[in-house]
């Protein structure tokens, strides 16, 4: 599904990611741990093709297409989707409008389909009629992002900190819908969707099963392993110690 090879990324002239390699197969969900500032979000934004993230070296291949220089919307058309951690407020553009856009429809109205999707995330019609992200709470932002993804139904979904600023009850709900979006409820051989989840706290991991986990430090993937082990190590020992415990001196190519 996604193949990242020797990726080096600069933001405003500063190198944030260096020589990063990562493969995510069809039907796989990977988790990326790492402290603030390690380059996690930069990686997602680069994969999505935001212009201020400059790829200075390396190739990103998605569904066998070299997307390294494709504009964002072309990548989205190929099947990429993203749940943003801090999405911008857009005045006058309602959440319901965003759902229509994500679904690729030109409708003005919020129709029954949208309302039905929203219901599953405990989102009311009033909430659909609010300007997107304007005055949303942490939990509301997450649910709004996931609602848009439900409408968009991408094949590969990136989640930027889906658990930050969300109360316990909502984490469970979000985990459940994420699992569904990523085919986690299907038998492994029947899974088509892939995902990359970034988490700082790891609390979402109690609600979604992943296939592989990585720890990112200083712009590289410093260690990889089974999600259970890595999560446990990160939670108990912190990021750097976890990397040490992985006992690998050189960078790991995460396969």
């Amino acid at each position: 599904m996604l193949e990242i090879k020797d990726l080096t990324v600069e933001v405003e002239g500063k190198e944030i990611i260096r020589d990063l390699n990562l493969n995510i197969e069809e039907g796989e969900v990977h988790v990326l741990f790492g402290p603030n500032g390690c380059g996690k979000t930069t990686l997602l934004m680069t994969l999505l093709g935001f212009p201020c993230y400059k790829v200075t070296r390396g190739i990103i291949t998605f569904k066998s297409v070299d997307i390294t220089n494709l504009p964002t919307n072309e990548r989205v058309k190929l099947g990429m989707g993203m749940s943003f951690q801090h999405p911008p407020e857009i005045r006058g553009v309602k959440l319901g409008d965003m759902v229509n856009i994500a679904q690729g429809r030109k409708e003005d109205e919020i129709d029954e389909d949208v309302i039905a999707l929203a219901k599953r995330l405990n989102i009311s019609i009033d909430f659909l009629n609010r300007d997107v992200n304007l005055g949303f709470s942490g939990g509301e932002v997450k649910r709004s992002e996931i609602l848009q993804l439900l409408a968009q139904a991408p094949d590969f979904i990136m989640f930027d900190e889906p658990d930050s600023g969300v109360d316990v009850e909502n984490i469970e709900l979000i985990g459940k819908i994420m699992s569904e979006l990523l085919d986690r409820n299907k038998m492994p051989s029947k899974r088509d969707k892939s995902g990359l989840i970034i988490t700082h706290s790891g609390s979402i991991m109690r609600h979604i099963k992943a296939d592989r986990a990585h720890v990112m430090l200083g712009g590289r993937i410093a260690c990889s392993g089974m999600p259970y082990e890595i999560t446990k190590n990160v939670m108990e020992n912190g990021f750097e110690r976890c990397v040490e415990l992985c006992a690998r001196s050189k960078e790991v190519d995460a396969e």
Partner: protein, 406 residues
């Protein structure tokens, strides 16, 4: 004030320049020829039908309680279909109602400037709309002031009266034929909202590059009266200056102005809304959204003057700049003359933010589509207080105007 005194005052103000806006040489414009009356709006020449539609006028008169059309300086159509609604040219109304002269120049001073003076001295009709006491005319009345000939100076005096506990919904469009290179529109509009009455007024200006426009509007609102104005301008105009003023004189009188302007080309606009809160507990809300692009120059003013006890006024004006050669001045003003009141304003001018575009692109839109969605959103003022049908109509007109510019 007798007619003679009014004329004398107008004569004295004939050369009085307006406080705002560049000076226009009125003499350059003419009255033009008389146009024949129509039996129905769809008899209006086919070449102009689209211009009517663009100004929100429904040629079939469907879902309208009455229609009025003035072409250049001739009233060519006027009919009221709803009991309790009066609709005719101001000229005819003055013949029919002796009392109407008492309403002339009560809200707008005849000697305000040379333009008001000119309307008194060289008036060419205008419309008179009145709802009888207690009558709710909720199906919109439509009126259109249309310019079809070059060099025309259209000088109208409109009087709108909502008698006690009545309701009036008005859609008015000012439009101009594509064939017109230069013309002048002077429009005096005086609104009287009596006790417990309501006027909801949606105005679309569909001008063109050669138009010079000087509306002069004022509203008198009595106890528990409500006035809501929606103004939309999406086409270029050579020069437009206006500062409609609502006088909330009665207790709990309310005024709302919502203005949407998309200024492009070499458009020059100086447009404001003012509310004078004299009545106890009177309220006003002024909302404006202005987009300036190309070489447009826009001054967006808003002014609330609080004089009555517990008066409350709020101004919210937002601007969006789409070009480095455009200019936008946003000037909100508040004035208070007593302690028990509450006035506030927020003003902001910004750009189309890169991260908003990227966010929309991440949902599948191209950069161009994303920009268009953001601009639409920016202009998307929730039209408060309008009944569903009128809100739908207004939104339809807004969408139509926007489609033309995008």
């Amino acid at each position: 004030m007798t007619k003679k005194e009014t004329i004398e005052r107008a004569e004295r103000a004939k050369t009085k320049k307006a406080a705002l806006g560049e000076d226009i040489a009125i003499d350059a414009y003419i009255v033009g020829k008389e146009h024949p009356s129509l039996n129905s709006l769809d008899e209006f020449p086919a070449e102009y039908q689209q211009d009517l539609l663009d100004a929100g006028i429904e040629p079939t008169e469907k879902d309208r309680s009455g229609s009025f059309l003035q072409r250049d300086c001739s009233v060519v159509f006027s009919t009221a279909k709803y009991p309790g609604l009066e609709l005719m040219s101001t000229t005819d109304a003055l013949k029919e109602h002796d009392w109407l002269k008492e309403y002339l120049w009560k809200a707008v001073p005849v000697d305000q400037d040379k333009y008001t003076a000119e309307v008194e001295l060289g008036q060419t009709h205008g419309y008179f709309i009145r709802s009888e006491a207690g009558k709710k005319v909720t199906m919109p009345v439509q009126s259109c002031l249309f310019i079809s000939s070059d060099k025309i100076g259209q000088k109208v005096h409109n009087i709108i009266i909502a008698e006690e506990d009545s309701e009036l919904h008005i859609i008015t469009g000012c439009s101009v034929s594509h064939a017109v290179n230069s013309a002048l529109h002077l429009g005096v509009s005086e609104f009287y909202v009596k006790k417990g009455a309501k006027i909801k007024f949606t105005m679309i200006h569909n001008w063109s590059r050669g138009m010079e426009v000087r509306p002069r509007s004022a509203v008198m609102i009595e106890d528990e009266g409500t006035f809501i104005s929606n103004y939309i301008l999406m086409t270029p105009v050579k020069s437009l200056q206006m500062y409609p003023t609502a006088y909330c004189v009665g207790r709990n009188a309310r005024a709302t102005f919502q203005t949407i302007i998309y200024a492009h080309g070499d458009t020059k606009i100086d447009s404001g809304s003012r509310a004078v809160l004299r009545g106890e507990g009177s309220r006003s809300e002024i909302i404006s959204r202005v987009i300036a692009t190309d070489n447009a120059q826009v001054i967006a003013r808003s002014d609330v003057i609080g004089e009555g006890t517990n008066a409350k006024g709020h101004i919210e004006c937002r601007g969006l700049m789409l070009s480095d050669t455009a200019e936008l001045d946003s000037i909100p003003e508040l004035k208070a003359t007593r302690k028990e009141l509450d006035l506030s304003h927020e003003a902001a001018i910004g750009k189309v933010a890169e991260e908003e575009i990227q966010y929309l692109m991440a949902r599948g839109l191209s950069e161009e589509e994303a920009t268009s969605v953001i601009i639409r959103g920016f202009l998307n003022v929730d039209i408060t207080g309008l009944p569903d049908a009128l809100a739908r109509e207004t939104k339809k007109m807004f969408d139509m105007c926007l489609e033309k510019v995008m």
